[in-house]
């Protein structure tokens, strides 16, 4: 017996119970649709995150204190104070790091801020005067603070749109006003526009001040939380990373690289790490969606068992006219696979359309450039899984059909 006749028999079998067949495959349709959407929207989100990370500029290297965290329990790496002024001075030296163009120490922390009666807990970011160029953000009003402000520990601040809204309300002019941060008054010199969403940081929620005043006036610390280093050309990033390591090891008197009390992040590496995380999340969600496929498969098995019982007489007749047990097995297996594959195909179409619509809605809603990606891998995975589910859950009913005795089946009423 050929595949063609098998397909034909399976089709006739399914056509005679059209509405039942459709209801049966619903579980598979939903499962595959869910997987397709998770994969497609997940890919879109991943692309968006990665695109924003590119926004940081591939020429920026971040130096962090402590060891590279090895796990959630690696607390030590967070509370480290190894990056100090002398390191910045050493790194600034052209002989040590020739490709360095700019260096920016960073400190941050959360403080209660207030203006009049309004209070708001904000993240304070202490940086150099060229932060807007390094972070690639534009100010809506005012200017960044100056080099002199940094040198003179001045209490000046650039605030995010949300901070402005919280402390001043919609219409009030914030520029030139003085807000209180930890009992100290800071004069506002600039405001960042809405949607200042950047890498890892939402600039809407930030108060940006000179790192010098943040260290001395607010946090009372002598070290930095980060040092950002800009390199002249992208291709010099890797060399510079090595230069930075050498310089800091010298400055910290470290001979064994294993004992480094700092670590370095580049955009390339950060992207790689982010990708690992988002991929894991994506596949986890897809696996959750796949559970519905198992439920759908059980539904298929159930209906195939009913079908085998209902068609006992037909099985008997087919055997009487010469169908071998193998041919009966294949007939019912084909029917099951046909059912699940149809469900899979419908699911792929639904999933792709839904993802496309979702991406359009998300683009509008978040006003970001959310790109629709057709998840080919999810499509093949979906079609393959649906066929596999047909095979697995169809096998038991099909074997049951194949084992039936022809004469008892013919007598079945």
């Amino acid at each position: 017996m050929k595949i063609k006749s098998l397909t034909k028999i399976a089709l006739i079998g399914l056509k005679t119970n059209r509405s039942r067949s459709l209801l049966t495959i619903l579980g598979i349709v939903i499962g595959i649709t869910a997987i397709m959407m998770v994969m497609s929207i997940g890919q879109g989100a991943q692309n968006l995150i990665l695109a924003q990370m590119q926004g940081l500029g591939s020429k920026v290297i971040a130096v962090l204190p402590g060891r590279q965290p090895k796990g959630f329990t690696d607390i030590l790496s967070i509370f480290s104070d190894s990056l100090k002024l002398k390191d910045v001075e050493a790194l600034k030296n052209k002989n040590n790091v020739p490709h360095l163009t700019r260096i920016m120490p960073i400190v941050f922390g959360n403080e209660l801020t207030s203006f009049d009666n309004q209070t708001y807990r904000a993240t304070i970011l202490g940086v150099s005067e060229y932060f807007n160029e390094i972070y690639n953000i534009t100010l809506e009003e005012g200017e960044p603070f100056s080099e002199d402000d940094v040198k003179s520990y001045a209490n000046v601040a650039v605030i995010g749109a949300r901070i402005k809204e919280q402390l001043f309300g919609e219409n009030e002019n914030a520029l030139g006003q003085k807000i209180k941060i930890k009992k100290q008054l800071f004069r506002i010199v600039g405001v960042i526009g809405q949607k200042g969403q950047g890498t890892f940081v939402n600039f809407d929620d930030l108060i940006i001040i000179p790192y010098s005043s943040a260290q001395q006036n607010l946090f009372g610390i002598k070290y930095y939380h980060r040092i950002a280093i800009e390199v002249d050309k992208e291709e010099n990033v890797d060399v510079t990373v090595e230069d930075i390591k050498q310089t800091l090891r010298e400055s910290h008197n470290i001979t064994d690289p294993e004992k480094d009390d700092f670590y370095i992040q580049t955009q390339k590496e950060a992207i790689k790490q982010t990708q690992t995380v988002t991929n894991a999340l994506k596949y986890f969600l897809a696996a959750v969606a796949a559970i519905s496929l198992i439920v759908g498969g059980v539904g298929i098995m159930n209906i195939m068992l009913v079908s085998v019982t209902e068609r006992t007489k037909e099985i008997g007749l087919r055997k009487a006219v010469g169908a071998t047990p193998k041919e009966i097995l294949l007939q019912f297996l084909f029917e099951a696979i046909f059912l699940t594959m149809t469900g899979g195909i419908i699911g792929v179409i639904f999933g792709a359309t839904n993802s496309l619509i979702s991406s359009l809605i998300l683009s509008k809603l978040l006003s970001v450039n959310w790109q629709f990606t057709f998840p080919f891998s999810a499509m093949f995975l979906g079609l393959f899984t649906s066929a596999l589910i047909g095979l697995i859950f169809g096998l038991y009913p099909a074997r049951k059909a194949a084992k039936k005795s022809p004469i008892e089946s013919l007598r079945y009423e």
């Binding site: 017996m1 005679t16 007749l317 055997k319 009487a320 006219v321 010469g322 071998t324 022809p406 004469i407």
Partner: protein
């Protein structure tokens, strides 16, 4: 030459410890081209015997040679192939697939055969001409009368050109006129040289055969040559 030869055939059924013997010590030979009727009251084992002869069931004891080969030498696959190529079945209940056309019903054995697909349409048409139903080819079984349905079943039985046709009470569900027509077709097939094995409890039907075997309580009571054979074809034409 004996197409079918059985020696001391026995079939026991075991149900919840109680043993029922359906047939016992049956020995007979059926020659190629014979028209044999097996009769007997219900419970005499005639259906069981037919099922064993038709490879649909297996005996619990005794020997059965089909074309001089013992059935114990056949695998289940081979038995299915023999049923497909060399045997045709006609049942009391017609056993047509209800939601498929006459054409599809007659085609059924071909699906499982080695006959090339391009010959199928012609074979189906020829078979339907033989049972005078070529005009009903695209009808569904429920659009046909009982007699017509049984003729479709006969067309299906002879589509693969079998050596022997086993008919299990083929006229049992039909009125006498339709029954006569069925018997006429079977006699015609027999005249073409095909072996017919028929079970019936109707005297008229059994009188159409050349040879009549009477079963009683699972044993052969009599095995006679029918001297007053009715020629059913005469009444129809």
């Amino acid at each position: 030459m004996a197409l079918i030869k059985v020696n001391n055939l026995e079939k026991k059924y075991c149900d919840d410890g109680t043993e029922t013997i359906a047939i016992r010590d049956i020995s007979l030979e059926i020659n190629s081209g014979e028209f044999l009727a097996i009769t007997g009251p219900s419970g005499s084992g005639k259906s069981t015997l037919l099922h064993i002869l038709g490879f649909l069931d297996k005996p619990t004891a005794g020997r059965y040679f089909f074309e001089n080969r013992s059935i114990y030498d056949y695998s289940e696959e081979e038995m299915a192939k023999i049923r497909n190529k060399k045997m045709g079945f006609v049942f009391q209940q017609f056993n047509l697939l209800p939601k498929t056309t006459v054409f599809e019903n007659v085609k059924l054995p071909l699906i499982y055969s080695d006959i090339p697909e391009k010959e199928w349409s012609q074979l189906i048409y020829n078979a339907l001409v033989k049972v005078e139903l070529s005009h009903r080819i695209h009808h569904f079984p429920n659009q046909l009368s009982g007699g017509e349905q049984q003729r479709v079943a006969i067309a299906r039985a002879l589509i693969a050109n079998p050596l022997v046709i086993f008919a299990d009470e083929p006229t049992g569900n039909l009125d006498s006129k339709a029954g006569q027509q069925i018997m006429a077709i079977l006699q015609e097939l027999n005249n073409e040289g095909r072996t017919i094995v028929l079970i019936t409890h109707e005297t008229y039907t059994s009188q159409c055969a050349e040879r009549i075997i009477k079963l009683f309580d699972g044993e052969i009571q009599s095995d006679i040559k029918n001297l007053e054979r009715i020629d059913a074809t005469k009444f129809i034409k």
